[in-house]
Symmetry: C2
C-alpha cells in the first residue's frame, strides 16, 4: 500500500496531476497494490482558501505519507504579494521543512522529440545524465541576508554534513549508472567551494570505484552546451544547480517533459520541472508527461520498484512513438491531442 | 599617440599578443599615429622572474598608459601553488587594483565559422549581443569569507553605486545599439538581487528610451541556448556574468575567437577570453584572432575611434572569408596556417 499526498497547486497543476493519478490507478489495477491519494491545497490555491501558500495541515500531511506529488505553483494573481507570501517562498519552505536536501533532475533526450532542441541532433542524441542539486543549503538559506536602500547581502554557506550527504547520494547513484561523477564548484574563487571540493574528495575514498572529476561552474555551463554526452552524474550546490539543471533540461529539447525528485532522509516530493502555465490552464491542453514521468521517479526512489519506473517510461515512449502529441510538442501537420487523450494513450500502453 | 602596456603572460599569450602588436604597427603606419608599447611580465612569467604573479612595477605601468593588452595567464606549472599565489588570484587583483568594474563580452557569430557551434545554424545565425558583467564586486570580493574543517562561507554583496555604474554603462551602450537591456538576477530568492533590481529600475528613469526587462539567471541561461537572437545588451553581477558570458561565447561556436574589455573609470584592459593553452604554446599554432579583436575593442572603448575598430573587424572577416584557418578552426581538408600567417593575412587586409 502506497500513501501519496497530491498537492496539485495552480494553473495547469491540477490537470497534469489528474493525468498522473490516472496512471497510478492503472498501475494499481495492473499490479494489485493499493494506492491511497490524499489531496491538499498548496500555492495560490491554498492562498485563496486559507490566506497562506503552505498551511500547517498540508505540511503535516506531507510528513504522513510515502511520497508527495506536486503539480505547479504560482500565477499572475499572486505575483504582487509581498516576498514572504509569494509562491516561491512556499516552495523554499516546503523544501526546508521536509528537509529535501537533494534535487534530482535527469537530462534525458526523447528521441521522438530530438528536433525540438536548439542544439544539433548529433550533439544531443544519446544524452543521459542526472543532476544532483543540493536543495536546502547554500545561498538560498544562508544567514546573514537582507537589503536596505544602499546595500544588499546574502551568504553562501555550506556545512560539511550538507555536502557529504548529497555527494554520497551522487556517488551511490553513479555506481548504478556509468560510474562517473563530476562535482561542480567555483573553487578558484570561493572558499565555500574549497570546503565543497575537500569534502567531496574525502568522501570519494569510500567510492574509489567511481570516477570523480571537478569542473568550474562557468566551464560546466559551456560543456553541457558543447558536449552533453560527456556527463553521467553531476553534483553541485543549490545556486549552481538551479542554473545548470535548467540548461541541462533545455538542451534536451524536452523541457516541458522532464520530471524531478526532491528527496531527503524521511520525505520525498516529485514534480514536473515546468511551471504552472496560467495561459493554458483549465483548457485540457497541458502536457501531462513530465508529471507522469515524476511518478516513475517516485517508484524508483521512494517505492524502490525500478521495474515499474521503467514500465511508465516505456509507456510514455510508446505513446510518443505512436505519434501522440499535445500542443507544446506538436509540429505543423500533427494532430494535436488533449491532456486527457495523452493520459489515456499512456495508460493504454501500460 | 597611444601608450599601451602589453602583458603577454603565459602559454600562447606571447604569440597572440605578438599578432596583436603587428596589427597595431600596421594601423600606426596606415593612419600615421604613434603607438608606444611597453611590455611587462604577468602571471607565471612574472612568478619565474620575481616570485610574484603581479608585481608593483607591472601594476604601476598599467596605471600609466592608455590601455592594457593581456594575453593569457596560467599553466600546469603554477597550479599547485597556494591559493593566494595562483594566477587566478593575480587576475582578481589586477581587476580590483585597476577598478575594472565592467567586463564587456560580445557574443557575435562569425558567419564563416557558424558550423562550429553545437547549436543549429538557424538558431545562432545573426546573434549579436553584449554582456556587461560587474567585475569588482559581488561574491568574488565580499567579506566575510573563509573556510575551515567543517564549514565554508562567502558573501554576495552589492552597494548601490556598484550596481548603478555598471547599469549606466549598459544603458548608454544599448542606446547606441538596438536599445534593449535585459538585467539578470535571482530576485525571487536573493535580497542582494532585490537591491540590484531596484537600483537598475530607478536608473532606468534616466533612460526611458531604452527598453528594460528583468530575467532570472536560471531562465537566462536557458534563453541564451534557446534563442540567443532575442538579446541586445545583458547586464548582470560578477558570478552570474562569469557563467552567462561563457555560455554566450560557447553558443557562437567561436569561443577561441572572442575578445573582451574590462573597463573602469580610469583604466582599461583588453584580452581574449580564451586561456593560455599550454599544450600548444611556442608552436606558432595559436589563433591570434581573439587578441586582435580585443585591439578592436580597445579602439572603440579606450581610444574612441570606432572606425578603426570596424576596420580591424573587417580585416578579420576578410581573412576568414578568404579561407584562412588556424588549426583550432580548420575543417578536414582545410590548409592549416600558423599564428604568424594568420596575423599577416589580417595585416594584409588592413
Ligand atoms: C522558483 C525558484 C525559487 C526555484 C529555485 O530557484 O529553486 C526554481 O527556479 C527551481 O529551480 O525550482
Ligand atoms: C579564472 C577565473 C578567476 C575567472 C573568473 O571567474 O572571473 C575566469 O573564469 C574569467 O571569467 O575571467
Amino acid at each position: 500500500m502506497y500513501k501519496i499526498v497530491s498537492i496539485p497547486g495552480d494553473g495547469i497543476g491540477p490537470e497534469v496531476v489528474a493525468g498522473a493519478v490516472s496512471v497510478l490507478e492503472q498501475l494499481s489495477r495492473k499490479h494489485g497494490f493499493e494506492i491511497v491519494i490524499e489531496e491538499h491545497p498548496f500555492g495560490g490555491a491554498s492562498w485563496e482558501l486559507h490566506g497562506e501558500m503552505l498551511t500547517q495541515a498540508t505540511l503535516d500531511a506531507c510528513r504522513n505519507c510515502d511520497a508527495v506529488l506536486l503539480g505547479a505553483v504560482g500565477g499572475p494573481k499572486w505575483e504582487s504579494l509581498p516576498h514572504e507570501h509569494k509562491p516561491e517562498a512556499a516552495l523554499l519552505k516546503i523544501r526546508k521543512e521536509l528537509q529535501l536536501f537533494a534535487n534530482l533532475r535527469p537530462a534525458k533526450v526523447y528521441d521522438a522529440l530530438i528536433d525540438a532542441s536548439s542544439l544539433k541532433a548529433d550533439v544531443v542524441r544519446g544524452t543521459d545524465f542526472l543532476v544532483f542539486r543540493e536543495l536546502t543549503g547554500g545561498i538560498y538559506f544562508g544567514q546573514p541576508r537582507g537589503f536596505d536602500e544602499n546595500r544588499g547581502w546574502n551568504t553562501m554557506v555550506y556545512e560539511r554534513y550538507e555536502v557529504e550527504r548529497i555527494a554520497r547520494l551522487a556517488f551511490e547513484t553513479a555506481r548504478k549508472r556509468k560510474g562517473k561523477v563530476v562535482s561542480i564548484d567555483k573553487a578558484n574563487v570561493l572558499e565555500v567551494s574549497q570546503l565543497w571540493r575537500n569534502v567531496v574528495h574525502e568522501l570519494h575514498k569510500e567510492f574509489a570505484d567511481v570516477e570523480l572529476s571537478d569542473m568550474y561552474v562557468d566551464n560546466a555551463a559551456m560543456q553541457i552546451v558543447r558536449n552533453p554526452k560527456q556527463f553521467d552524474v553531476i553534483v553541485t550546490s543549490n545556486l549552481f544547480g538551479d542554473i545548470l539543471s535548467d540548461i541541462a533540461g533545455m538542451i534536451t529539447g524536452s523541457l516541458g517533459m522532464l520530471p524531478s525528485a526532491s528527496i531527503g532522509t524521511k520525505y520525498a516530493l516529485y514534480e514536473p520541472i515546468h511551471g504552472s502555465a496560467p495561459d493554458i490552464a483549465s483548457q485540457n491542453k497541458a502536457n501531462p508527461i513530465a508529471t507522469i514521468a515524476s511518478v516513475a521517479m517516485m517508484f524508483e526512489h521512494s517505492f524502490k520498484v525500478p521495474e515499474i519506473a521503467r514500465e511508465i517510461e516505456q509507456a510514455i515512449e510508446s505513446a510518443l512513438a505512436s505519434g501522440c502529441r499535445t500542443a507544446d510538442i506538436a509540429n505543423t501537420g500533427d494532430r494535436v491531442i488533449s491532456t486527457t487523450e495523452m493520459t489515456e494513450a499512456i495508460v493504454r500502453h501500460l
